[in-house]
């Protein structure tokens, strides 16, 4: 790609910016740091990965929560998220932990874990088990 062609390409997305900073942290900064700071540079790069995945998968998670709210919750309270309202309804035992609730939580958790820690070993086990069902 020539410089002219490159300049004609689209805006650098937030996702690409995060990738650039991740690469800087792991491939450059970490090599110039020692001990705790070096460790934290890698942690910071992982954190940016969480942000990237949340940007990509967040809308699906919100849609799933919205369906749950329509099904199980009274009209939303502005100061509480759907997750909070469901937690409180479970804690007070107003919402029974039946198989439909369990299935929703399982589907939700596959998305949440895909955002926060997609390489976590039991995610693959859960995915194979729950997507088959």
């Amino acid at each position: 790609m020539t410089p002219e062609e490159a300049s004609a390409s689209a805006e650098i997305s937030a996702d690409l910016l995060l990738s650039a900073v991740k690469a800087f942290l792991v491939e450059s900064a970490a090599h110039h740091l020692e001990g705790r700071d070096r460790f934290n540079a890698r942690v910071a790069a992982n954190v940016l990965g969480i942000v990237q995945r949340e940007q990509a998968l967040g809308p699906a998670l919100q849609a799933l929560d919205q369906e749950a709210a329509i099904r199980w919750l009274p009209p939303a309270k502005a100061d509480e998220s759907i997750a909070q309202q469901l937690s409180r309804a479970l804690a007070s035992r107003e919402l029974a932990p039946d198989s439909a609730v369990f299935d929703y939580l399982k589907a939700r958790q596959l998305l949440v874990t895909a955002i926060n820690n997609p390489k976590y070993a039991s995610r693959a086990v859960a995915e194979a088990r729950w997507q088959r069902a």
Binding site: N40, A83, S87, A91, P97, V101
Partner: protein
């Protein structure tokens, strides 16, 4: 505190304590080891002898309102429990000096350095530890049975008896305090309450007996570390905790810490205790261990939000999703096979 200042305080404090135990006249080579989200761990030398310093970088009082006992005992009480364990055949380091939060060093203790591998990613995979791995689940069963036989009457007063009902209440209080943001953990807590085993007599539990807190040499178990979460509870709790998914380092097919099988752990325990722990009870406590990990993750996030800790604490807060996934997966396996 700057390492040079810490080094000077340590030299002054340790000189009388080590005078007739270890040759040397001062601290050298003080270096912070990485890892440890609550307490700092430092390596140092006294003369030619390597030692380990555990130190809490903040006062116990400053965090008490945030997490109750989730961050564990004071280091003074932790040292007292290690000294009790040292009177059994459980491999623990000798304690040389204990300092409370009013000491210039800060709340801390200094202990012997036990040679061995502490990084699980090494001893779980390297061929040179194959024999150690084969023995380890049985040895862990033995060690846990010995810990559980320690007389609770000799414990510091902070490690009192409790009940399952109070544990559930404490977990619920924390879920509320952290804003009820996890329906999965709430679902799991409800399940644990509804499926609680009958109360059995409580024993001293290590409370954090997992792969990352074991020191391993070529012969197997060389040291049991990190006693800060010690508490009283039913024996199955420690066994289930060791088998929790989150501590298997990805080796899910080896339920005991990613290195062994249930039967080996149970046989080791029975060889010392004289009775055989029930597998279903162990599985129940695996689910409880997932909840505990989720609450620890939330505590880390709360500490970070209160200005204590670095980016690792913020990142650990998101690892709550591991605990949530495991609770749902284990409950599903329990209910549906």
């Amino acid at each position: 505190m700057h390492p040079n200042e810490l080094s000077q305080h340590l030299t002054t404090a340790l000189a009388p304590l080590l005078a007739d135990k270890i040759g040397g006249s001062g601290v050298s080579g003080l270096e912070r080891l990485s890892g440890g989200a609550n307490n700092e761990t430092w390596r140092l030398a006294w003369g030619e002898t390597p030692l380990i310093l555990r130190r809490r970088p903040f006062s116990a009082g400053s965090v008490a309102s945030l997490e109750g006992n989730i961050l564990g005992l004071s280091l003074v009480d932790e040292a007292a429990v290690i000294q009790l364990a040292s009177q059994t055949a459980v491999p623990v380091p000798a304690i040389y000096g204990v300092f409370d939060e009013h000491h210039p060093i800060g709340e801390a203790f200094v202990m012997a350095f036990i040679p061995g591998e502490s990084i699980p990613q090494r001893w779980l995979t390297e061929a040179s530890f194959a024999t150690a791995r084969d023995r380890l689940a049985f040895q862990c069963g033995e060690a846990l049975a010995r810990i559980h036989a320690i007389d609770c009457g000799n414990l510091p007063s902070t490690i009192g008896p409790t009940t399952l009902a109070r544990r559930f209440e404490a977990a619920q209080t924390r879920l509320h305090a952290f804003g009820d943001i996890s329906p999965a953990l709430q679902f799991g807590l409800n399940w644990l309450i509804d499926h609680a085993p009958e109360e059995t007599p409580h024993v001293l539990l290590h409370g954090d007996f997992r792969t990352g807190n074991l020191l391993v040499n070529k012969a197997g178990l060389a040291g049991v570390l990190d006693w800060e979460l010690t508490h009283q509870g039913p024996p199955g709790e420690d066994l289930g905790y060791l088998c929790a998914n989150v501590w298997r380092f990805g080796q899910l097919e080896k339920p005991v810490g990613g290195f062994g099988h249930y039967a080996e752990l149970i046989a080791g325990y029975e060889s010392i205790a004289g009775w055989s722990p029930d597998l279903n009870t162990i599985r129940y406590w695996e689910i409880f261990a997932a909840l505990s990990w989720g609450l620890v993750c939330q505590t880390m996030g709360a500490l970070w939000q209160s200005g204590q800790g670095d980016v690792e604490r913020a990142a650990v807060a998101r690892r709550r999703s591991e605990a949530e996934l495991d609770m749902l997966l284990l409950i599903d396996e329990w209910e549906n096979g």
